[in-house]
C-alpha cells in the first residue's frame, strides 16, 4: 500500500455508509462486505484516500455501502474509470469491485488490459456463475449445459475460469477465496491490499436466489478440507483432514497428480512446494479439474513488477527534469515564425 499515513484508529463501523444494504437476504455479498469493512481499519489508509469503483451488477452496488469515495460506473467499464483515477492521482488507494458478467463478459477487454498494464488497483471479482441483477441468465463462468431462463435446453458456452484468465493476462497478483470463509477471505484481502500493482482476487460467492449451492460441493464446512487446497508460498501443497493428501508432479506428462501420503509409498518429499512466483504452477493450480482435484484457494501467483501509474509518474518526473516546467509561450513560438509590423 502506498499510503502508510498514521491515521486515527478507525473501526469497522467507520467504513459503513448510511445507505441500507439492498442485496437479497442470504446473499454471499453480505459476508464479503462485512469482511472488507473489517479489514479496512487495519490497512491504515485514511477513508478519504480510498475509492471504491464498480461497474454494473449485484456486486457493483458495493461502493454505496462503503463510507469512502465511491463511483458506480457503467457495465464493464470500471477498470478503465479506475485507471483514469489512478492516472490522475496515484496517491489514492483504489478498489475495484466487479462480477463474472461485468468483469469477464461485457468488460473482459478492460479487465484484460488493466491486468496486463499492472495498474495499482485492488480488484475483487465476485464469481457467482450467474447473472443475478438481470434475474438469472447464464454467465461466462457458468458451467457448460447450464439451464437458465435464457438457456432452457442448457447453455452451449464453455466457461472461462477467472483466475486462469488473470494469469493469462500477466497479472502480477492472482488469488482466490470463498465468501463464507471469513478467516481465509480476510487474509486474502490483506494480501490483495498489500500487493503493489494489479491485485486480482476471485471470490466464489453464492447467489442464493438464482444459482444457490453453486459451490456447495467444496464450500460446505464438511467438504472444505478434502475438496479445497489452501496454497501457501514455500509450503508443501497438502490438503485434506490432517494434511494427508497432496499434489505432486508427473514429470513425464508435466501434469499434477493428487496423491495420498503413505499410499503406494508416497512421501512428503514428493509433494510440490508452492511457489507464488511460478506462473506455470499458478496456471496448473488455478485450473485443476474438480472433483478429481481439490479447488485451489489462496495466493496462486504474486510477483513484483513496475506499476502502470508508477511508470507514468516516473516518465512525467523525467520529462520535467529534462525539459523544465512547460513554457506555453515558448511552445507557441517554436518552429518558423515571422513578424508583421
Amino acid at each position: 500500500m502506498s499510503n502508510v499515513v498514521p491515521a486515527p484508529k478507525l473501526t469497522r463501523k467507520d467504513f459503513e455508509s448510511d445507505q441500507d444494504v439492498r442485496w437479497c437476504p442470504g446473499c454471499g455479498d453480505y459476508s464479503i462486505l462485512a469482511n472488507v469493512q473489517r479489514v479496512m481499519p487495519e490497512l491504515g489508509v485514511p477513508r478519504e484516500k480510498l475509492v471504491f469503483v464498480s461497474g454494473i451488477g449485484c456486486s457493483s452496488r458495493f461502493p454505496y455501502y462503503m463510507n469512502t469515495y465511491g463511483f458506480h460506473t457503467i457495465h464493464g467499464r470500471a477498470p478503465a474509470v479506475a485507471m483514469g483515477i489512478k492516472a490522475a492521482n496515484p496517491d489514492l488507494t483504489v478498489w475495484l469491485v466487479t462480477g463474472d458478467g461485468d468483469g469477464l463478459s461485457i468488460g473482459g477487454n478492460h479487465l484484460m488490459h488493466c491486468l496486463r498494464r499492472n495498474v495499482d488497483l485492488n480488484i475483487l471479482l465476485f464469481n457467482n456463475r450467474i447473472y443475478g441483477l438481470t434475474k438469472g441468465q447464464y454467465s461466462p463462468t457458468s458451467e457448460f449445459g447450464k439451464i437458465t431462463k435464457s438457456s432452457p435446453t442448457g447453455s452451449v458456452d464453455f466457461p472461462v475460469d477467472p483466475s486462469t484468465f488473470a494469469i493469462g493476462c500477466s497479472a502480477s497478483f492472482v488469488a482466490r477465496s470463498i465468501d463464507v470463509d471469513a478467516t481465509h477471505l480476510t487474509e486474502m484481502l490483506r494480501r490483495t491490499a498489500a500487493h503493489k500493482g494489479a491485485s486480482f482476487l476471485e471470490i466464489y460467492q453464492n447467489c442464493n436466489v438464482f444459482n444457490d449451492g453453486a459451490f456447495d460441493a467444496f464450500r460446505e464446512k464438511v467438504h472444505r478440507d478434502d475438496r479445497t487446497i489452501r496454497v501457501q508460498h514455500g509450503k508443501p501443497l497438502l490438503f485434506g483432514k490432517d494434511n494427508t493428501r497432496g499434489l505432486r508432479i508427473d514429470s513425464r506428462t508435466l501434469s499434477l497428480e493428487a496423491v495420498t501420503l503413505g499410499e503406494n509409498g508416497v512421501t512428503e518429499q514428493e509433494i510440490l512446494l508452492h511457489d507464488e512466483t511460478n506462473p506455470t504452477l499458478a496456471y496448473m493450480l488455478a485450473r485443476m479439474p474438480f472433483p478429481d482435484f481439490p479447488v485451489a484457494l489462496g495466493v496462486l501467483y504474486a510477483v513484483d513488477k513496475p506499476t502502470y501509474d508508477g511508470t507514468l509518474t516516473a516518465q512525467r518526473d523525467a520529462s520535467l527534469k529534462k525539459n523544465g516546467q512547460g513554457d506555453l509561450h515558448a511552445l507557441l513560438h517554436s518552429g518558423n515564425t515571422w513578424q508583421v509590423s
Binding site: S17, Q19, P46, R47, E48, K49, L50, V51, V53, P63, Y64, M66, N67, T68, Y69, G70, F71, H72, T73, I74, R77, P79, A80, V81, A82, M83, G84, I85, K86, A87, A88, N89, D91, L92, N109, H110, M112, H113, L312, Q315, R316, S319, L320, K322, N323, G324, Q325, G326, L328, H329, L331, L332, H333, G335, N336, T337, W338, Q339, V340, S341
Partner: protein, 621 residues
Amino acid sequence: MANPEPQSTPLPHAAKEVSGAVVRFVGDSGDGMQVTGSQFTVAAALAGNDLATFPDFPAEIRAPAGTTYGVSGFQINFASRDVFTPGDSPDVLVAMNPAALTTNIRDLKRGGLVIVNSGAFTATNLKKAGYEKNPLEDGSLDGFNVFAIDISKSTLAAVEHTGLSKKDAERCKNFWTLGLMFWIYDRDLASTIKWVEAKFGKRQELVDANVAALKAGHAYGETAEISHFHYKVPPAAVAPGTYRNIGGNTALAWGFVAAAQLAERPLVLGAYPITPASDVLHELSRFKHFGVTTIQAEDEIAAICLALGASYAGSIGLTTSSGPGIALKGEAIGLAVSTELPLVIVNIQRGGPSTGLPTKTEQADLFQAVYGRNGEAPVCVLAASTPGDCFYMAIEAVRLAVKYMTPVMLLTDGYLANGAEPWRIPDIADLPKIDVTFRTDPEGFHPYLRDETTLARNWAIPGTPELMHRIGGIEKSFKSGHISYDPENHELMCQTRAEKVARIADDIPELQIEVGEDSGKLLVLGWGSTYGAIREAVQRARERGLSVSHAHLKYINPFPKNLGEVLARFERVLIPEMNLGQLVKIIRSQYLVPAESYPKIQGQPFKIDEVEERIRLVMES
C-alpha cells in the same frame, strides 16, 4: 507536348506582380509531396502572404507505386489579400507521375500551368494510371500550359557529384521541383536550405544532394522557356504581431495544453488511434512537462472512461476521436451527464457512416453530438471554424466543462484537422483564466449541491477529508444526492440538467454577422469548417451587388441567445453543410423559420464557387 504560350509576354526574368495563386503538388506517396508543400508554404508565409493549405493523403499507407489510389497531394492558396480557404481550382498543377496527372487535371483552371515529370511517364506508369496513350503527346492537354520536364533525369545530373546511389539520388526530385516552383514565385531558398540542414544534418551527402537539387531546379527556371512564368505575390496586409503556420490538430492540442495551464490543473487524455484524430494524441504525448498525461487506451470506450475517471479525481479529462469512436463513447458520455463531471470530447469528423471515408472530411455527426445518447442527456456542443480557431475552442470547451460540470463535445473535422493557416500567436496574458474550485467544506455537503447561477454541482474530489460520497449512473435525489427512484425527482433532475446546459447561453458571445448587413434578403448561416468558403462566397456575391450576409455558429448547444433575432432579420436563410441537412433541421425545429438547406456530402469541402453559385440561384428563385 503542348506548346507553352504564356498569356502575357513580359520580359523573361522580370517577375510579374499577381495578387495570388493556388498551387497543387501531386505525386506518388513516396514522392515527398507533403514535404514539398510544407516547404513551399513556409516560404510563402515568410514572404508575408496570407495563405491556407490542405493536404490530401491517400487512405493506404504504402499504396503500390504509380497507382491512382497512391496519389498524395498538397494544395496551397497564397495571396496578397485575405485568404480563407485553400482555394477552389489550382492555377498551377505539379504532377510527378501519370497517376497524379489523371486524378487531378480535371480540377485545374483552363489555361493553368501544368508541370509534369516526363521521366515518370513510362509505359508501365501510363498503364497503371489507365492511360491508353501518353497525354503529353496526344493533345489531350491542349488548353493548358504544359511543361513536361524530365525531372528525374535533371535531378540525377544535379546530384551526381554527391555519390548517392541512383535510388537515393532520385528521391531528391521533389527538391528539384520545389526549386523550380521557388523560381516561378520568386521565393528565397534560405528557409528550405536551413530545413534540409536540420533534417539531414547527420548525413552530409543528403544535405548536399537535396540542396543541389533545389538549386538546380531554381536555376532551370532562369534558362528554360518557363522563364515567362515568373511571378511576385506581394505581402498581405494583416494585423501586426508574431505569426506562425498552424494546422487544426496542432492548434487543438496546444489549446488543451493552454487550457490546462489556465485552469492550473493537470490534463489527462484518453485516446484510441483513429484517423484523423491520432495526431492530437501524438502531439499531446510530447507534453508531459506541461502536466499532460496521455493514455493510449485499449478501445474508445476505455479512452473516455479513463478520462472521466481522471475528471472525477480532479484533473481535466479529455478524449479525442472521430465518428465511429464517438459512437462507442455514447454510454460513457451519458454517465458524465448523470454524474455531472466535467469532460471534453472532441469529434474530428470524417466521412461516415461506419468506416465511411476515414481520410475525408464531413459534418454529418452533428445529430450524434446533439442527440446521440440514451435518455435526456444534453451536452454542450461547440464547433471550431478554422484551423487556428481550434486553439481557442479547445480552451472554451475546458472553461465551460469545468464551470458547468458538464461534458462538452467539440466538433472539428478532417478538413480543419489537416488544413493549415497563418496564425497570429496570442499573448498568453490575454487568454482567459479558468477558475477551478473544489469543494472542501464538509458543512452541509452533499455531492449534488448546486451553484444557484450556473446550476453546476460542487466538485468534491477523492482525497478531500470528510467529503466521502458515492456517485454513479443511477438517478440521484435532487435534495441529497442519494439514489432515488422517485418519479417527480427524476423529472426535476432531467429538467435541471437540461436547464444547466441551457444557461451556458448566458456565458457565450452573441452571434455576430461576419460579412454584410445585420438584416437583408439572405443570411448564409454556417457552422464549423465551412467558414472560409462561405465567407469568401458571400463577399463575392456582395461585390456583385447581392444583399447577402454571413453568420457562423461556433456554439451549437446551446445556441447564442440572439440567434432567433438574427434569423428573423433576414427574409431567407441558407444553410450550407457537409451533410444531408442537419443544422437546418435543428434551426427549423427550434426557431420555426423555413431555412433552406445546401447539402454537400462528397468527402470534400465546399468550393467558394459552389456556394457563390447557390447564393445566386437562391436569390433568383
